[in-house]
Symmetry: D2
Subunit: 380 residues, 4 copies
């Protein structure tokens, strides 16, 4: 008999949906000791909460997240709110003894992030940050290949996350769907929203980043604010690029923008080692590009691995070889790993502490862009 | 308040899973009048049925499909069994007044198929055959573009469905996972299993096929039978290719095999019209290739449409532009369209009658391969 | 000191240019015993011949090809004329003791082809048919891989040659640039022009074709004739597709058309063996796709081999790895191999006799399309 | 009657071959007033010069480049030597009144480059630097599209040039084939060799670069010297990456390395504008990727333009649509444009003055990498 794990989810937006879907599906595909239950959805807007509960079969709703923390029938607090609320909620949840799954980025900045880490480590509650792209099977396969030592010494890492949805100057900022454009709620622009993903994957695959030099740009200087109704300065970074050196001696370039016409959500990375190279692209997420110099010369070439075989990470749980899964499945895998971590006692990563490293890199990047200097990343 | 629609699903195999998943998800993403309920799973193997019910949250189980038909609390019979059982079950279900969703191919042959069509039309029950690939958004988009008249006169159609999973000579035939290799249960090999998909899409996109000439081959002549334990002749077609002429004057080639090393489930089609061409590939199912001769000469080229925008078919229901969905979503769309068909009174296609056309082409193909002649397709 | 080999080239068209270029370049890149000299260009139109001689540095011109054969200072007759002139010219050249390079297809039909083979074998003159695609490095590499036994038993072969340049109904037929549309000069349409290439490669890579069933179509029934000025029936095949069985037991599909919108000169082939598969595409001619099932499972995938390394066929003669060569180089390689064949005494292929096999398949294809029957290829 | 233009070419290496080939071919394909004549090849190694002359049909040889300058029968001096010789030779050639074609990069540094510009402008001789990639038809097409205003405001530029040929630690440095690894002859490593190409294209397409911040790395610290026979420190940059801001406000990232396993000569660039984006890749050099946001939404996607049509730049001179040309053709186009510049009086670009801008960016990049600061490019 599976143990039930009651979920209290805060936030009815895009991420609220991806997480709800993951909780609903995980037990259909993974055979785990725990079975999540969609207990309560929480949103300050009651009507939205009700509609969401109805759509996703949540048992109840709350409109005050602090009440959610007081309830005994909630095991996990899942934070899917704008970034400026993460720290307060997570710290309170930890103090209430709840397990926590928090959307990325961990916090608005490293200082907040440290307080969150302290809170969960003091109360010893299970905690996870939702850097979901680690659990795209092709990305997990990349990690496995690196861990198997197949690449040898690493020389280069490059990653970018390119979008094109904010080019129109009449797009407003702030409000429900557009809080990512409002610095008050988002903290930063593409750095925290998109580069944070690239950095999390990079650290996971290639170890800590030592130093960075960055530039940022805000192409559209003013936008209508949804909340105030007035035209206000845009304070987020529309684009950010940085050079980096990893502790293992490899060089890196990172770039993100919402002004790359033609790219909807193109997250790519490539890593070049002495013996082999790996590349991946979110737009064709079920493929991994792999080049192995040890292959026979005449037939050496980049392989396009269709990551849908039973021996590929997570794929024995789904359909048959050749049939692709999509974006949402990364969240199902995340929940599965979180539940397995509870059962085995080995926590799924990235924990709050792991995610703090990404925060530190983001802070160094933003600081470098401001000061036009190289910055050493301050992990402690 | 949504109307509940109780599902009785027969068969716990691969298709049982894809259908169960679709029923569970459809209401989370589509706002429809009907909400399916996973009422009963039926399998002659009680243990399997119990385990499946537990995994998918079915309310109850049955081991005798005839009892399922007698129950008042079942609205829809969903047939996910081997092909040789489709006709008997569907005809009985129709007589019991149940709506029917039946896995493809419709039947073992045209004669059986006609009896099934007669049964559902006589009792006037809603009916649908699960040719799910119509509802991959990129494929639906192809249909829309054709219906908008963008291609002009059609000259060529080509399709293939290539796999490589039966090359090993020690793979047995028959039994639970391998009934597709046993002619008694499957009727034919790649013709009914794979080419049927190609033919269904082709007729949908390009109209009826007039005549065909085909060849088939069985590369491995004998295999161990899982059911008998003995080495027995292989009676299915391992590979089948045919030439065809459509009623609209276009020419076609079709090919399917399970001996194409390197292809797991490569279903591709291409259609060439006077003004534009379309191509698609199941291995990268969220992309549609599009060439429009009316584009300016200097920049004319094949476009790779990443079919993930809100204005693409079905995609407003899922995530955000750039984030791919997968194979399983075609079944969710199928259920959504079936439910919408109930609400609007315009049945979702392909109905049994629609699917009978595909059956007629399959029969002509197999007959042609046997007789080494051109065969005219007998639709009536 | 290199031996000079005097070339007498007949025909100033497209092929006259590709051959002239090859003779001019071969000695710059290949270190061979023979050095070709552009001695004489022959065209019945004197003005064209003069202009061509000037452009390509031919030493002299002729307007009567029979005079060219009488000259002692000509070693090689290179026939780049419309197909209907091949047989007469080649037989006369053989009788005059000249070496012969003849554009493909060998002849208008097998009967003519046999007479040509008899002529060159009787007089024992060096002879070669210009099926140039064998000598695209990626295609030669495919041949090497097959000869190394890397594919194992072959199951499938598929090839097509798709163009889109005759869709416009106001395109005339016949005359200098358009003789390929005139059955009197071309013999057939896409069968002799395009499928002949596919068949030549197929036989080279996979051995003889045993039997075929074909269909052809002429989409535009009448066109203005350039020579007569009148609207006349179109007698060539605009499109042709056929199924085939090879002598080694593999199945094949072939297709060619000039009505595939979006394809300029898309010649592709794919061959599926027990252990490995190969695919190639003229549009990206310096790449070979290679799948090897013996690769480790987790990283197995189609490789895109960029055929530009020094160890790839012919490529040590050109630039450095990564720098692509183009279409015209296949003719340079052809001349290099012809010259090397003269030096070593092992003739370069395909000889007239080799090319006769392709002619026999073309004849069987056209006959099958006419009679709507399977036809056994008559090689003798 | 065409005017003859006598070429005196210095250097028998890789570039000597590409230039010789271009001079030999240009008149076969382009109808120009001038016809180049391969008059003299000059190399300090007499044997190499003789062999090269024999292979390429040069009329004579020289072993002292200063003698070449004294000859009245030489019109053009073509400098294909290591970088450290460019300035001395070019200045002397200018003073001798010769036209000059000089391999890239212009010079060892900006100071040298300025002296060269002064020399050619003072003597008013025709001059060109061989940044050949401008004349790959796909790249020229990109330029045309930008000049037509199709992109609108530019937001982003990214380029890289990735190779993998120096990963082996036992590769020596210096000497005939390896002078690019010796700082004394090459000046810098990938910056002058590879990034110079990226920068030249970038300035041509997107205007001047204002400021940069860079990092460089030498992964292998010591190598055997071919000239001294001893193990010596490696003084070139193995890898270099930099961030940049263009004067038009767009942001850029550039990267180059010889340690990117799997990439032989992967030069790519991408440019994102308000309305459209362009991308290109040297490994598939006859394709241009094009995204136009003004396309209808449902069929919007990246187009792969096969740049082989008669209306594409330079392509009316070659074969027929669909048939690719290669790397070497960029040099033929360069010579054609140089000759046309002579005829029309409008010099072909990049002149020495144009190329000096690229030199200035390279200098800023190397300086920035050394000082870990942002550097403003000093064009004057």
């Amino acid at each position: 008999m599976k143990k039930k794990l009651n979920i209290g989810l805060i936030g009815c937006g895009f991420m609220g949906r991806t997480h709800s879907n993951a909780y609903r599906k995980v037990s259909n595909f993974f055979d785990l000791d725990y079975k999540p239950v969609l207990k309560t959805i929480c949103d300050r807007n009651e009507e939205k909460a009700k509609k969401f509960a109805d759509q996703w079969d949540f048992e109840s709703i709350e409109t005050d997240w602090r009440k959610l923390l007081e309830r005994d029938d909630i095991d996990v607090i899942d934070i899917c709110t704008p970034n400026n609320l993460h720290a307060e909620m997570a710290i309170a949840a930890a103090e209430a003894g709840k397990m926590i799954i928090c959307e990325k980025p961990l916090a608005m900045n490293t200082a907040e992030g440290k307080a969150m880490v302290d809170a969960v480590e003091k109360t010893n509650v299970a905690n996870l940050v939702s850097y979901n792209y680690r659990r795209i099977p092709a990305v997990t396969l990349a990690k496995n290949l690196i861990d198997q030592g197949k690449l040898g010494k690493i020389y280069h890492y490059r990653a970018n996350f390119l979008q094109d949805w904010t080019i129109a100057t009449d797009l407003p900022q702030g409000g429900d769907g557009l809080w990512r454009l409002d610095a008050k709620e988002a903290g930063s622009g593409v750095t925290g929203d998109l580069l944070a993903h690239c950095i999390d994957t990079a650290i996971w695959l290639n170890g800590p980043i030592k130093e960075v030099t960055a530039m940022t740009e805000t192409f559209v200087k003013e936008r209508q604010s949804v909340t105030s109704g007035k035209v206000e300065p845009v304070k987020i970074d529309d684009a950010c690029a940085f050079l980096a050196r990893f502790e293992n001696g490899s060089l890196a370039i990172f770039e993100s923008t919402r002004y790359a016409r033609g790219h909807k959500a193109l997250y790519t990375f490539e890593i070049n080692g002495q013996n082999a190279s790996i590349a991946w692209d979110l737009h064709d997420l079920h493929r991994l590009s792999w080049f192995d110099h040890r292959d026979e010369g005449q037939t050496r070439g980049w392989r396009s691995i269709h990551v849908t075989d039973g021996e590929h990470p997570y794929m024995d749980k789904w359909w048959v070889p050749g049939l692709a899964i999509g974006y949402e499945h990364s969240f199902v895998h995340q929940v599965a790993d979180f539940l397995e971590g509870l059962a085995t006692g080995t926590p799924a990563a990235p924990t709050f502490r792991d995610a703090l490293m990404t925060q530190a890199v983001c802070d160094a990047v933003l600081s470098s862009a401001k000061n036009k200097t190289w910055e050493t990343v301050q992990y402690e």
